[in-house]
Amino acid sequence: MRQINYSKAITEALREEMRRDEKMIIMGEDMGVMGSVFGLTVGFMKEFGENRVIDTPISENGFTSVAIGAAMRGLRPVVEIMYVDFAMAGYDAIANQAAKVSYMSGGTLSVPMVIRTPAGAGRRSAGQHSQSLEAIFTHIPGLKVVAPATPYDVKGLLKSAIRDNDPVVFIEHKSLYFYDAKCDVPEEEYLIELGKADIKRAGNDVTIIAWSQEVIHALDAAAQLAEEGISAEVVDIRSLVPLDFDTIRNSIIKTRRAVIVHEAVKRGGYGGEIAAQISDELFDYLDAPVKRVAGSNVVIPFSPALEDKIIPQTGNIVATVRELLHGGKNAVFTNAV
């Protein structure tokens, strides 16, 4: 099978859906003439015209609201917010408008739109271009939240998000745009249903739950742990809302241990929500406390020497799993990060 990388997969999903549905439009800063700052829509304006590939002014709240109005009228806008950090400048549109329309209209109106937004650190972009803010969106009923990790997933999930009738916040890790590993992606059309987790690696001793780029780190960690005789199962939840808890439940019933990994800061992160649900429903199955490996509760620093210290790396996951399995009764569960 042919192999492509993460950003090529996104471009393919966007192009295929633009060709399939003439009601779809793409809007955002630099999406047209430039083809997006990450080069994802190069050539789109030429192929689909200025009416459907729209360069917007720097007005996050404004153009996201414009997309909402267009969606209410039957278009299917895919908005790019260039960095998820900038979504805070458009948060009213996302949280008070897009998320509320269906409910507050008693289901008579809907907002079929996607807000694509690159997130995440590792690019030495400092505190306003590096955050992982998915938890902020999961807290708002009415939004669906997706954060894929692989080329195969990002393509299938983006196509489904575009066809979905609700506002979907689609979080792409910007480091994955530059990740050179490619994976098998069929040339034939396929879709991945929102709200379905994927077991990226099967195992028996511990369940590592992750999304977005941390799935890659979790897989690397699982490979290292295997050399030590520890069999880790990696569950990539892919969608945060809706959440496929069935897959998490089945895995933990088997492994009896859970480690949740995310890049976003630990405090108020979505890992806390998953940990609470595991504790509520699976307490009797657990042999150890649920652990979180997450970003430090700090602003993302610029200096490469500092940035790498606050983002969960493979080593942090390995160390936490080791503690869980070998720590024994008297183990001191240190903060992994």
Binding site: I25, N51, R52, T56, P57, S59, N61, G62, F63, S65, V66, A67, I68, G69, A70, A71, M72, R73, G74, L75, D92, A93, N96, Q97, V101, S102, Y103, M104, S105, G106, G107, T108, L109, S110, P112, P141, G142, K144, D164, N165, D166, L194, G195, V241, P242, L243, F245, Q277
Partner: protein, 332 residues
């Protein structure tokens, strides 16, 4: 008389009836709120009937509006059913939003109401989105965006006007300048005297109209709507108007004098039209009294309909959060 040349009897009586409907609806809403029969908050537009009616009657039924938190009049004038609106205020299953939106959130795409908004200014760019859809879909609908003087100081106002003008979209911005953003007089927080002047910054026409004269509002909006429909882009209209009640019912109104309120009441749009059309020989006191009676009966029937309607079933609280896959979306 100009009025004789420009208008026929039927049209003028329609303006009169619609303004009376708006006033009667909000008068009823105010009374019921005071008697604690309606929960939450009510923002009445008593005094602002001419902007709602003059604006909406310049539209085709297939056109769209964005309403405001003070939007009962706008929704009624766009074709809203008084029974379904009153039922929404009462939080009943038969309301426009099945009781889930309430007074500030009447929406019905079928009659061109893309929603009122509880966030001041937020509806303005949504209206621009509707206009963008008209342009892309190559349909001829125009979107009329209502907002107040308070909203003209939000970032959304400026972002919206910038995009609408840059892209020549078929949208009309109608600012109901009633002088106060809750308690704050616009003059205290805004340097320029007329909000319409801001149109210059966006290279579009800015027009001031008398918000106490329904015919003036109507003519101004009609011209802007025709311009928008012809692909010539947006217009910013500022209607100088006034609300007789407080920002919400029961609000103490410490920021204005009784004399100021009286001064504006003396320019009342309904009384003005009544006088004009009788003097011009279009109608009689008796005929208008008949309309008044019909409107009163309509609103009494609306209240009865609302009161006799069931509340939404309890299970409804969990529906409509998502248009698809709702159950999983709300489950965890």
């Amino acid at each position: 008389m100009v009025i004789k040349k420009k208008y026929d009897r039927k049209t003028l009586l329609r303006f009169y009836r619609e303004m009376k409907r708006v006033r009667e609806f909000d008068t009823k809403a105010s009374e019921l709120f005071t008697k604690a029969m309606i929960a939450g908050n009510i923002h009445t537009c008593i005094g602002q009937e001419a902007t709602a009616v003059g604006g909406c009657l310049a539209l085709n039924p297939s056109d769209f509006i964005i309403a405001t938190h003070r939007g009962h009049g706008q929704c009624l004038a766009k074709g809203g059913d008084s029974r379904m609106m009153m039922a929404e205020l009462f939080g009943r299953e038969t309301g426009y939003c099945r009781g889930k939106g309430g007074s500030m959130h009447i929406a019905n795409v079928g009659i061109g109401i893309l929603g009122a908004n509880g966030i001041v200014g937020a509806g303005i760019p949504i209206g621009v989105g509707s206009a963008l859809a008209s342009k892309i879909l190559k349909t001829m609908e125009v979107t009329l965006v209502f907002f107040g003087d308070g909203a003209s100081n939000t970032g959304e106002f400026h972002e919206a006007l910038n995009m609408a003008s840059a892209w020549d979209l078929p949208v009309v911005f109608l600012c109901e300048n009633n002088k106060y953003a809750v308690s704050v007089n616009i003059e205290r927080v805004t340097k320029i005297k007329d909000i319409a002047e801001r149109a210059k910054g966006y290279g579009i026409p800015g027009v001031i109209t008398d918000g106490c004269d329904v015919l003036a509002v109507h003519e101004t909006v009609k011209k802007a709507v025709e311009r928008a429909r012809a692909g010539q882009g947006p217009t910013l209209i500022e209607a100088k108007t006034y609300r007789y009640h407080g920002h919400y019912e029961g609000e103490p109104q410490m920021y204005r004098t009784k004399e100021e309120v009286m001064e504006w009441k003396n320019r009342d749009a309904i009384e003005r039209l009544r006088k004009e059309i009788i003097e011009a020989g279009f109608t009689t006191e008796e005929e208008l009294a008949g309309i008044d009676k019909e409107v009163k009966e309509e609103m009494e029937a609306a209240v009865l309909f609302a009161q006799n309607s069931p509340y939404p079933e309890r299970k409804e609280v969990m529906t409509d959060v998502y248009a698809s896959d709702n159950e999983r979306g709300v489950a965890r």
